[in-house]
């Protein structure tokens, strides 16, 4: 059990997908303007990421490896991810039209969120077991959500600032993200996977 907890903590904090691995920056910058939206995006991505890492693990171990067609990995993983995203989109659209509208183009773009594919591939690379993959995916996704929400809070505060014209908008957001990444370096060296 503590192994899974460590995986969860490690992927969420120490090897945070966004701030340490620099994956999934597109939604990180794109939908972090508002807290509610960021939370919605985080949860949607959590769902996709967890499901996709499990499904891709199954695909890898049950299909690709036995048939010895691992060269098809990226292609088939993307197929799986795209399907999961489509599914998520339907669910979100049905359950929360407002969130659907707010997430806009970024919802289908989860497909191309490199964090999703990245985590699925890392799972294979590190030879994770089924449960490890599950927690690896979930931890990464939770880390993504955590950072999204933190950053959205920061940006809501930034929106009330008198940032110099030169830095207003995206530049200050990038600076803030960089500084947040600096802060996350404090977690480095924690003995987790």
């Amino acid at each position: 059990m503590s192994e899974f907890l460590l995986i969860l903590l490690g992927t969420a904090l120490v090897n945070n997908v966004v701030l340490v691995k620099f994956l999934g920056l597109c939604p990180f910058m794109g939908v972090s303007g508002k807290l509610d939206t960021a939370l919605g995006m985080g949860l949607a991505t959590t769902f996709v990421l967890t499901l996709a890492s499990v499904l891709s693990w199954l695909l890898e171990t049950l299909v690709l490896a036995p048939l010895d067609i691992q060269f098809m990995r990226i292609l088939s993983f993307i197929l799986v991810i795209a399907a999961v995203v489509q599914f998520t989109e339907m669910v979100v659209r049905k359950t929360s039209p407002m969130l659907y509208q707010l997430l806009g183009i970024f919802l289908p773009l989860i497909t191309t969120n490199c964090a999703v594919l990245g985590v699925a591939l890392l799972n294979v690379q590190e030879g994770n077991s089924f449960m490890q993959s599950l927690f690896y995916g979930m931890g990464s996704a939770l880390g993504f959500t955590l950072v999204m929400v933190l950053f959205a809070g920061m940006r809501e505060r930034l929106a009330l600032n008198n940032v110099p014209a030169l830095f207003a908008g995206a530049p200050i957001a990038f600076i803030a993200a960089g500084l947040l990444s600096l802060a996350f370096m404090g977690f480095s060296g924690l003995p987790v996977k």
Binding site: M154, L179, L182, M185
Partner: protein, 374 residues
Amino acid sequence: MNNAGPLASPHTRQSSSVSAIMLQVWLALLPASLFGVWLYGWPALNLLLITTAAALAAEALGQRLAGRPIMPSLKDGSALLTGWILAMTLPPWAPWWVAVIGALFAIIIGKQVFGGLGQNLFNPAMLARVALLIAFPLELTTWVAPQPLFSANAPGFIDSLHITFVGVAPLVGGVDAISGATVLDGIKTELARGAELGVVLPDYYRAGDAMLGQMGGSLGETSALLLLLGGLYLIWRGHITWQIPAALLGTVALLATGFHLYDPLRFAHAGVHLLSGGLMLAAFFIATDPVGSPASRRGQLIFAAGIGALVYIIRTWGGFPEGVAFAVLLMNAATPLIDHYVRPRVYGRDPHGKPLDYQRGRFARRLKKQQGGE
């Protein structure tokens, strides 16, 4: 009376100003910093002055580039305080360029680009501290053993200029003679070597010295006692709230005691954690910086407890011997969230913001009592 528009009430004001508050904080810091200067000699004074001057220069530059007035922002004392606190967290014999780069980073990146005073998300001094630690790990971890001013081994004033502007190495006696490790450094190294804590701890930690600050460490971080006094003064004058220091120190003490009881050989006791490193300075002077901390008292408790927990985690399991700066930055980042979710209860509303319901709860009981006419 410069605006011609209608004048809103109130038409009177308590006499206080931002600069007065900054001055008070600076005064409270003074004993600990003077002690640091005495303990580590002239190079420490150089460092303090250079950092502060660089911070003021950076502030002026930033204000000018942003097209904002320069003098008022220099006078408010915030840049001075940022520079001062940064210097207090640096190794006392750090070279001049470390001080200057740190001050520039703190003021320009940490504060000015966010819009100046009150607008920064992160504590500027801690940002600079972390940035320096990552960029110049060697300079930032070269500690000196205490050599009080006018004592036998202490460098003279001229030597101090050499130390600050050229470097330590060519001095008589060499590096070894002056190097000293901080308590936390020592413990981390020894534990990594597989030593037992109970055996090695007395080599690094003596409670009395730690209390007074007679040990290696950052310029102004060592004297827990003087920092505590300064902090209590600020609480007494109402410039900081008791919630942040209490929750911060309390969390660290609680975690340290708990783990120490669990395994005394691997985990240092609470005294070590409280009296060493930058914890005292952070608890009273850095985490209490109002700009990066939550507005509500309950929020402040959460914020400070978060810092405490992170400090303990990073110190105990992390890659760095000291985690105060990281912990403060991480909780700075969480502050907008805390402010969003933790707010004081509004008059006439329940904690969720709904109008009070007099059907149940303590208000219903009070109403019944009043209706009874007491």
